[in-house]
Amino acid sequence: MTSLLILLSLAFGVYLLAVLEAWIVNGRFQLSRPVYSALALLGRESIIPRKPDLLFFETGPIILLIAALLAAAVIPLAPGFIIADLATGALFLNAALAYVLVALIMAGWGPNGAYAMIGGWRFLGQLIAYAMLIVMPITAVAMRAESLVTTEIVLSQSAVWNIFYQPLGFALFFIASMGLAFMPPFDMPTAKSELAGGVEAEYSGFRLAIFRLGRMVLVITLAAATVTFYLGGWHGPGLAPWVWSAIKILLVTAAMLLVGKYLPRIRESDLLAWCWKLGIPLALINIFIVGILLVVIP
C-alpha cells in the first residue's frame, strides 16, 4: 500500500516537473501540456534504426527508469512512508544511480548512430567528474547521522538541517546531482545544439517517452535525495510531514531548473578539471570540517 502511494506521488511529481520545466525554461505555464506531449509521443511511430544492437536499444530506457525507481525506494517522504528502509540506504541510493550510466551507455550504443554513441560515452566522462562529489558529501552526512539508514539521516537533522551544518557539502551535492541527472548546464549526453539530442537522437515514439519518463523520475529522485540529506527531510513547522517533503522537493527541482536556465552548457574537459581540481579537495575539506564539528559539538 505504501509502495503504491509512493509510486503514485512519484507519478504526480513527474507531472508537476513537466509543468514546471515548461514554465521555467520556455515561459509557458500550461497544466494540460504534459498530457498532450505524452499522448503525442505515444501516438507517434517508434522508429528502429538500421542495424541496431536491438537488445541494448530496447532495454536502455527501461534500465534508466528502473534505476531511478530503485533509488527512489530508499527515500523517506514522511515517518514510515518509505518503500524499503534499508540498513545501507545511503549506499543503496548510489548503487542504483550507478546504473543510470549503464543505461545511457546501452541507449547510446544500441541505435548504431554516431551522435547517440558520443552522447553515451560523454556521460561516462561526466560520471568520472561527478561521482566523487555525490559520494563524498554523502559520507559527511552519514558521519553526522552515524548511520547509512536514510530515516536516521533525516532524524539527525531535527535540530539543525545539514544545509546549515555543512553548506559546502550541500553545494557540491546539488551541483553533482544536476550532473547525474544530466540537466542543463550538464546536459552533455543529450545536448540538442551539439549532438542533435545525443542519446535521445535515435529514439522516437513510446521508447522516447520511456526514456524521458526515466529522466524525470531521476530528477525528482535526486531532488528528494537532496531534501533527505540536506534540507531536513520531512521536518517543518505546522504542516503535515509529507506536505513539507513535497514542498521542499518542488523547490529544489525549481532551483535546479533555474540554475540550468541561466548557465551555458559546460565543456566536458572543463567539468572534469573543475570537479577534480576544485570539487574533490572541497569535498575532503567538508569531511574534515564535519569531523571536527562532531568532536567539538557532541
Binding site: K51, F92, A98
Partner: protein, 190 residues
Amino acid sequence: MITAQAIFIGFFGIAAVWFGVVVFRTFSMVRSAIALLFSQTALGAMFLTMEVEFLGVLQIMMMATEMSIMAIFMVMFMMDPGGMGEMDMTHQKQFSLTAGFISFVGAVAVAVFIDWGPVSTVAVDSVEQTKALGFELLDRSMLIFEMAGITILTAMIAATAVAIKPASKTSQPKSSSTAHGDHQHKEQSK
C-alpha cells in the same frame, strides 16, 4: 529443505554463470562488458539473498562503473568493437580450453573438499553487520587496506605519468609536416 532463499540463490547463481558464458559468446565488446557487469550484479544479488546487505550493495555499485570504464577501453583497443565486421578475435583455443577446464575442476574441488567450518543459519542484523565491517576495516585490517589503497594509488599516478607526453617534446616539433615547420619552410624558400 528447499526454501525461497535457496531458490533465489540458485536463480541468481545460474544467472551469474549464464552472463559469464555470454561474455565469451558475443563478438560485440560493449555487449561483452555489459554481460560481465550483469554477471557481477547477479553475484551481488546472491549476497543480498544471503542477507549480507552491505557487501551486496557495494558489489552492485562498484561493478557498474568499473565495467563501463572497461567497456570504453575495450572499444578503444579492439579492431572490431561492434562485432559487425565478423572478425575472429579468438586465439590459442586448445590451450584456453585446457586451462579453463583445469581451473573449473580446481574451483569445484575447492568448493567441495574444503572445511567451511560451522555454518551459521541466522544472519546478523544488517545495521550490526555494517558496524562490524567498519570496525574491522579501521581496526584489525586497517594496515592491509591502507597498504592496498596506497599501492593502487601509486599505480594510478605512475600510469598517468607514463601516459602523459613530456611537454618539452611536444612544443618543439621535429617534422616539417606541422604548421610551425611549414611556416619555417616557406620563410626559407622566400
